[in-house]
Symmetry: C2
Subunit: 471 residues, 2 copies
């Protein structure tokens, strides 16, 4: 602990009280993870405003051997930005690095500092008739640095990919204090190992991401949002294939089970079912066009009519206006919230190959419900990416310690089923602290060895977010 | 050398004479690089037919401390697959691993072994109404493993990206004999550092790529190939921006200077100028559509007519048929060959930010011509990617040792200009042996340190293509 005290004293002297915050009340909101499950402690928050200040901090941390825990909006799902409880590490918040250093419609590129909030970048791009196409529920708080370090996904991955596909380059302070500058905006560059790609999704364990070059696409000229009722996840995937064969406009395709819809209608105010009849499964479809040359709603309506005729769907409706479109999205976006209100829920962010997801979903839900009588298992989300949020809800009569008593065993079973299906136990949320043990249990030893070797090679002192990602 | 002898004896015993080739006549064609500049030696060629055989070889190589030099079609431009001249390393040819393990139009994915030749994959995809969109001049010899290990580019990067964007996953034998299996076809997977991306472009220095999952796109339904005359590279880029604002169909956009065209007409049989008049610069445009719903040639013709009216171009012609389209491409594809016939040429595969390329090209050519009187400097190629093949040709009266005498100094000047412009001294050809010294001279020390740390972490024995890529 002495080293930490000395480190903070040195940082205060070098960088001043604007950068080094030691007031407990100002620290307290940031040491617990977003879901409130993991409680950490930190003797200070360092809030640098420039890459140079980050360099100073990293050099001091290396000198004193004090670990840094980088943090953006603290909206992560795997407690990757939560410090350990013993106070041995120091939070490094990128929140003051909020400059959009450049943004150009001509180059279709924005360079945003790590602390830029996603919604702010959306607005900046929109002002130029452009768009940064990644979006997710926490867009009002999450930051570009965190999105990059977790290789975030969201609802438009189907068309635009995850952060990995949208990042053109990364600037980061490496553990030795060197700055990796990948912001040059080169479309082609084969000068050795791609450090940008290594830093994307590294959860701050290999360096501190300070700025990111991001690809922009033309703004949406028109969008259509539709809701369709289908018999099964397999039919939902058939519908996606049907649409993809006929249009390139589909960019969101979200699966919603009937019971999730019912939970939303029950617990979330101002929601109503998009369709009159009852359907076992639903899909929310978003289609967009960047040129105004054709009527996207008419195109989607025509395609859904054809799908109805072919028996792919039971019914469908196109949002008549923006308010209705937002109402459809609200259902999708409040499923987790409705579940939380309803009772105890265990969430799993998993993926399998896209074509295998319908069967996996049905089979895995049945197996889990059989093994843990009373629970309800179902999945919702990004069917077109093979990525489902597989949630297991406690029986209504479950004891309040259900989560603590049964959670680990259920998660182990889900993770075993996913692994047996060739899938991933973390599709988009990352490993953080929460999935580290499961990663170690289930990943091939050769992979664990490679991850550890890379981590140790670049961060031999272990000062970069230790205890995260690498088992 | 004793270790090498013992290694080969062990390999022969374990894997048999089909895998272990020691006949000098069979080795000889493979120990010189494609451009004939670097001559190596190897006591054997190992030609495994399966990933398991590669594992056996890697384990034996580790046991005996014998370096392996992986090789595909031996068409690399940086001598990355050429063994050292002292015979201390052994060639590992992936040529017998030629299975397309799976290919699916539904999943838009092919899994090809490292030795599959690009043209063969093109044909297999075409049979299914699909397409693997990366292509380049050596498509009849180059292999999927080599393309992956060099992050190859080519002429359709503008629309589809380099290999890095087209590889969905990599299977590789790591230096410790573990197999990294990234072929699962998961669209989303956040389980730690992305080893696939690390192996892409690693030139065999971190492991042996044995198979690759590749993204397919729908086959071309129709294409239009056009040739336009422009005043300057800046005007060429204006034309590209003009087209891109109006259509998503452009997938190739190649810049050709007038003097390159003249060299082709002079030295390559059966070529003729596409346009009647004379123009300082030319662009070859390829536009495609995957659905047959509209007339792509008519669309491009209309757009070029508008560009002509706006003064962006001096003249243009659309290929009237496939034969003419191929004739246009032949001009582009034979520039290097025509230069070689004409005299001594020094090639540089460089990139700068796209918007900066027109000015860089003009300024750098002038500076080089001023510094080395008599030479002719010009660039051709992938303007839309900011990647130009910047070639410096000897004066017609130059001595036969011009290349050896002046080459290094000219290359240093070009590389300095590129670096000052924030560009890359290797846009798509890689580092191999030929650019290692320049990489060390020009890369930030922090980057060199990171490359070395990663290399040493994953290959502590140095058995994976030593002397390549990492300075």
């Amino acid at each position: 602990m002495t080293d930490t005290v000395q480190f903070i004293a040195d940082a205060l002297e070098t960088l001043g009280p604007k950068v080094v915050v030691t007031e407990p009340r100002e620290i307290e909101p940031w040491v617990t993870d977003w879901r409130g499950r993991v409680h950490g402690a930190s003797p200070a928050i360092l809030a640098p405003a420039s890459t140079n200040e980050v360099v100073s901090i990293v050099k001091l941390a290396a000198k004193h051997g004090v670990p840094l825990v980088p943090q953006g909006g603290n909206t992560g799902m795997a407690a990757g930005a939560t410090p350990p409880a013993d106070g041995s590490a120091v939070l490094l918040s990128l929140r003051r690095m909020r400059q959009v250093r450049s943004i150009s419609a001509d180059n279709r590129l924005a360079v945003a500092e790590a602390g830029v909030i996603l919604a702010d970048l959306h607005a900046r791009a929109h002002d130029l008739g452009m768009r940064f196409p990644l979006t997710l529920g926490s867009r009002g708080s999450c930051t570009i640095g965190g999105l990059t370090s977790t290789n975030a996904g969201g609802t438009q991955v189907l068309k635009f990919g995850t952060m990995r596909a949208l990042v053109a380059g990364v600037e980061a302070v490496l553990p030795d204090g060197n700055v990796h500058s990948g912001l040059g905006g080169l479309k082609k560059d084969n000068r050795g190992y791609n450090l940008d790609q290594l830093l994307i999704g590294a959860e701050g364990t290999l360096g501190i991401v300070t700025a990111v070059a991001l690809r922009l696409v033309p703004a949406v000229a028109d969008r259509a949002v539709a809701w369709a009722g289908v018999d099964s996840p397999a039919r939902a995937l058939d519908l996606l294939r049907f649409l993809e064969a006929r249009t390139t406009a589909v960019e969101g395709f979200e699966l919603v089970p009937e019971d999730s819809l019912q939970l939303v209608l029950k617990h979330i105010p101002d929601t109503r079912a998009p369709l009159a009849g009852s359907h076992c499964w639903h899909v929310l479809i978003e289609a967009t066009t960047a040129d105004g040359s054709h009527d996207i709603a008419a195109e989607i309506e025509r395609l859904l009519a054809a799908a109805l005729q072919q028996g792919l769907i039971g019914d469908a409706v196109i949002a008549a206006n923006e308010a209705q479109a937002e109402a459809f999205w609200k259902i999708r976006d409040t499923i987790s919230e409705a579940e939380r209100v309803d009772g105890q829920t265990l969430a799993h962010d998993i993926s399998v190959p896209v074509a295998d997801m319908p069967r996996f979903l049905t089979d895995a839900a049945a197996e889990v419900e059989r093994a843990f009588p009373g629970v309800i298992a179902s999945g919702f989300g990004h069917l077109g990416d093979g990525n489902i949020h597989f949630h297991v809800r406690a029986a209504s009569h479950a004891a309040s310690d259900w989560y603590d008593r049964e959670g680990a065993a259920i998660t182990r079973m889900v993770d075993d089923l996913v692994t047996a299906a060739g899938g991933s136990i973390s599709a988009e949320h990352g490993i953080g602290q929460l999935k580290r043990a499961e990663l170690e249990r289930l990943a091939p030893p050769g992979r664990i060895h490679a991850l550890r070797a890379i981590k140790h090679a670049l961060d031999p002192l272990g000062i970069m977010n230790p205890g995260k990602l690498v088992p």
